[in-house]
C-alpha cells in the first residue's frame, strides 16, 4: 500500500513525454565497443569538475541520486544519444538547479 504523503515535484505531463532512450539493455545497432588504451580517469578538467560538482550538490542535498538519474533520462532522445557522459551529467545538473529554483 502506498504511503505517499507528498506531492510529486513533476507533473504527469512531463513524465508522459519522457523518452526511454536510456533503457538500452538488449537494443541493437550500437556497434563495436571502442576502447581507449591507457584511458585517464577524466579526459578534460571540465569533466572532473562536473563529477565533483554533482557529488557536492548531492551531498548538500539539493537533489537526490534518483532525481539526478531522472533528469538525465528526461533529456530529448537525440541529445541523450549525441552527448558524452559528462555532458549528460552537466545538462541534468543545470536542469535540476533551475527546477529547484537555485538558478534563475
Amino acid at each position: 500500500m502506498s504511503k505517499l504523503r507528498w506531492r510529486p515535484a513533476l507533473g504527469n505531463a512531463s513524465l508522459r513525454a519522457m523518452p526511454s532512450t536510456h533503457d538500452v539493455g538488449g537494443a541493437s545497432g550500437f556497434g563495436p565497443i571502442v576502447r581507449e588504451v591507457d584511458e585517464p580517469p577524466f579526459h578534460h578538467e571540465w569533466e572532473a569538475r562536473v563529477f565533483a560538482l554533482n557529488r557536492r550538490l548531492l551531498q548538500l542535498g539539493f537533489y537526490n541520486l534518483d532525481e539526478f538519474r531522472l533528469a538525465v533520462e528526461r533529456m530529448p532522445s537525440e541529445a541523450y544519444l549525441a552527448s558524452s557522459y559528462y555532458e549528460k551529467w552537466f545538462i541534468a545538473v543545470e536542469r535540476l538547479l533551475r527546477e529547484k529554483g537555485v538558478l534563475e
Partner: protein, 98 residues
C-alpha cells in the same frame, strides 16, 4: 513493510513499466526468475526521483533476481547465460511453480 519472497522463490517481473523513473529494465519486463539474495529495505527510486524524502517515499525489500538467458531473450542457445538484476518488491509477482 513486506518481504513477499524468499531465496529460491520463482517470481515474474511486471509486464510493463509505469511512466517515469523506474529501475526495471525493459528487457526484463514480464520475465520469470529466481530470487537469489535478499538485501533488506531500500528506498524505492520511483518515488525518490519525484522528490520524496527517505521518510515519505516507499521503502521496499530489494532482491537480486536471476534470469536464465533463454527466458530473457526467448532464444535457445548452446551457451549458458544468466542475467541478474536488483529489483524492488513491487516490481515482482509470485510465479506459480511449474
Amino acid at each position: 513493510m513486506t518481504t513477499r519472497f524468499r531465496c529460491g522463490d520463482q517470481v515474474r517481473t511486471r509486464a510493463q513499466n509505469p511512466e517515469g523513473h523506474t529501475r526495471l529494465p525493459r528487457y526484463l519486463c514480464d520475465r520469470r526468475g529466481t530470487v537469489e539474495m535478499i538485501h533488506g529495505l531500500f528506498a524505492l527510486p520511483d518515488d525518490r526521483a519525484l522528490g520524496a524524502s527517505l521518510s515519505t517515499g516507499r521503502q521496499e525489500t530489494l532482491y537480486t533476481v536471476v534470469f536464465e538467458g533463454r527466458e530473457v531473450w526467448r532464444e535457445r542457445s548452446a551457451e549458458p547465460l544468466f542475467v541478474s538484476a536488483d529489483l524492488w518488491d513491487s516490481y515482482l509477482e509470485p510465479e506459480p511453480a511449474r
